[in-house]
């Protein structure tokens, strides 16, 4: 059975900061380990080191059993990669190399059909057979049928960009889970998957006998699948040998233990310094004490050379303050509302203070409904009104603001926009600090991580004085800590909240649910409903 053994790994950033130091852990024997940490802590860098994309400055990574890697960008492939190339790239190195040689031989034969070219082609074909290429093609057929319902021959030349994010993820997961690699590295495998897709992923990960190391921010997935948790924090990594349910207690206990060890070290350090000073004074008066003084100096030097134990990692401080304000009792009224072509007409009344989860099938019009409430132009019939003093604040998915891409957070805060007054630099930096993004204040929006972009958008909601929060997948890119901070902030918010979400953990904090069914029906539920299937449209 395959394993990954990370030993003494160190990585320094180009600006000289040490991102990771003395990272040691081993994952093997069919373990399902989650890799967690704050945005920017070094999770992706560590995965890249394990995958062999980066060479560590010190230390080593040992692997056996073949390594399959699913990268984060899968789900947002927009170039001309086709299904065949995609599946080849997910295959073991020997299959990839044999494929490339075969393709080169085919092209050469098309150019010049001579004996040499034919022999090269024949050898490439034999090699393809020897490395298990034909078996791989049989597997790919199973994979494409399972992921998108089409045999391999029918879709191998199809561009990946014509598949949805969820289909791209599913294709990669099917290929890796059915492939020969015994160790899988999965970077956010659940992104772009709807809830039935996430449940499918959980079942597959629970069933597999492969060793899996995965990064996810989905607390439900972490709780159901992970049997150990590798945490990247404070410039190193540590392993909790239990599941995610007991993780918070284990982390708190570890932090307390580290703080205690550091406090003891500081106390001992101070005691030795005091002793050296005392002996120094005594040695000045008594030559007999000189030897003891020098011995104590040596002991202090050795103690300092050994260095202090690692300190408790600094806590990421994210303090969201969504205030809101009193509005009319009826916050949203929809009467025979129909977003053209997306649903059947429906009525809804949402009251001041309600926490409404907007759930349902992908493509059923949930995001359009939120945009309509936010005052954007969405074709519809029927009526939709906001109550007295209701000020909508809209959180869009992070790619929905092309006009922000080249601007910096400080600039966006400084200039303000209609409905949100600008603030001076001092206030802007203070607000950014509360959201843990002060260091990125002068960076272009496009260069912020998904989590940083999401936190910045929540900050804009805070400053806009919104009394109706319209949130479209707000926890999608937030790390676990930021998601919990958002939940706390929403709990304290005086106003009404409507949130589209696939995050089952987050959805549990809502009181009512508006479900957009695959059949076009919109209905209310007191419990979260996650099994609406995707809306089928002509493709």
């Amino acid at each position: 059975m395959g394993y990954v053994d990370v030993s003494g790994v160190r990585h320094t950033l180009p600006d000289g900061r040490v991102l990771l130091d003395d990272v040691n852990f081993r994952i093997g024997e069919g373990a399902r380990a989650a890799l967690v940490g704050e945005n920017g802590a070094g999770k992706t860098t560590l995965l890249r080191i394990i995958a062999g994309d980066l060479v560590p400055e010190a230390g080593s990574v040992a692997r056996t059993g073949g390594l399959g890697v699913m990268r984060q960008f899968i789900g947002s492939v927009r170039d001309d990669t086709n299904v065949q190339r995609f599946l080849v790239d997910l295959s073991p190195p020997a299959v990839r190399e044999a494929w490339d040689a075969l393709e080169a031989a085919e092209l050469a034969l098309m150019e010049t059909d001579d004996e040499r070219g034919q022999m090269t082609y024949a050898h490439a074909l034999s090699h393809w057979g020897d490395v298990g290429g034909y078996e791989a093609e049989v597997t790919w057929d199973t994979v494409t049928v399972a992921a998108i319902g089409i045999p391999y021959d029918g879709c191998k030349y199809r561009e990946l960009s014509t598949l949805s994010g969820g289909e791209q993820k599913r294709l990669a997961l099917e290929a890796l889970l059915r492939g020969p690699d015994e160790v899988l590295l999965l970077d956010e495998p659940d992104n772009y998957l709807d809830v039935p897709g996430k449940r499918w992923l959980e079942e597959r990960l629970l069933d597999t006998r492969k060793t899996v190391l995965f990064v996810s921010h989905d607390r439900e997935l972490l709780a159901r699948v992970a049997d150990r948790v590798v945490t990247v924090e404070g410039g190193s990594a540590w392993v909790h040998g239990g599941g995610f349910v007991s993780y918070h207690e284990a982390r708190t206990a570890r932090h307390e233990r580290l703080a205690e060890l550091r406090r003891r070290w500081d106390e001992e350090h101070q005691r030795l310094i005091d002793l050296v000073r005392t002996l120094q004074q005594q040695a000045a008066n008594s030559p007999d004490m000189a030897n003891r003084y020098h011995a104590m100096q040596t002991r202090l030097a050795k103690f300092e050379a050994a260095g202090p134990p690692p300190d408790r990692p600094p806590e990421q401080k994210v303090a969201m303050r969504l205030r809101g304000g009193r509005t009319g009792v009826r916050a949203v009224i929809a009467e025979q509302l129909e977003l053209t072509g997306l649903m059947k007409p429906f009525d809804a009344e949402i009251w001041y203070g309600d926490r409404v989860g907007v759930l349902g099938a992908n493509g059923a019009g949930k995001s359009h409904f939120l945009r309509l409430l936010a005052g954007q132009a969405v074709t519809h019939t029927g009526e939709c009104r906001l109550g007295a003093r209701v000020v909508p604040g809209f959180f869009a998915q992070t790619h929905a603001h092309p006009e922000w891409q080249d601007r910096t957070p400080v600039d966006l805060l400084w200039h303000g926009e209609p409905g949100r007054p600008g603030v001076d630099r001092g206030r802007a930096m203070a607000a950014l600090r509360r959201y843990g993004i002060a260091d990125q204040g002068e960076q272009q929006f496009r260069t912020l991580s998904g989590g940083q972009q999401a936190r910045f958008q929540i900050l804009l909601l805070e400053l806009s004085g919104a009394t109706l929060l319209l949130l479209d997948e707000p926890t999608d890119n937030l790390d676990v800590l930021s998601a919990e901070s958002l939940e706390d902030a929403l709990g304290a918010f005086e106003g009404t909240v409507l949130a589209v979400t696939h995050d089952r953990w987050f959805a549990r904090s809502f009181d009512r649910f508006l479900v957009f069914g695959a059949d076009g029906r919109v209905y209310e539920s007191t419990e979260p409903v996650f099994d609406e299937t995707r809306v089928q449209r002509a493709r």
């Binding site: 059909d113 001579d114 004996e115 034919q118 022999m119 024949a122 074909l125 034999s126 057979g129």
Partner: protein, 69 residues
């Protein structure tokens, strides 16, 4: 010790190639064509079975063409 020798007798890759190439190259004797095809078959013996008929025929055609030039 008996060595395992792959059969080079008249299998499908040889038969079908010989028939087609004989029609294509009437100026050559059937014996020469069979000889070339069998040599090609022998040289390509490690190739995947499904691809063998096509590979043998293409290589034999190439060699027969060169011999006529």
């Amino acid at each position: 010790m008996a060595l395992a020798v792959l059969p080079t007798g008249p299998d499908l890759s040889v038969r079908s190639a010989t028939t087609r190439l004989a029609e294509e190259f009437p100026e050559l004797s059937a014996h020469s064509i069979v000889l070339v095809v069998r040599t090609c078959r022998e040289e390509l013996r490690g190739s995947p079975a499904d691809a063998l008929p096509e590979l043998v025929e293409r290589l034999a055609r190439q060699r027969l063409r060169v011999s006529l030039d």
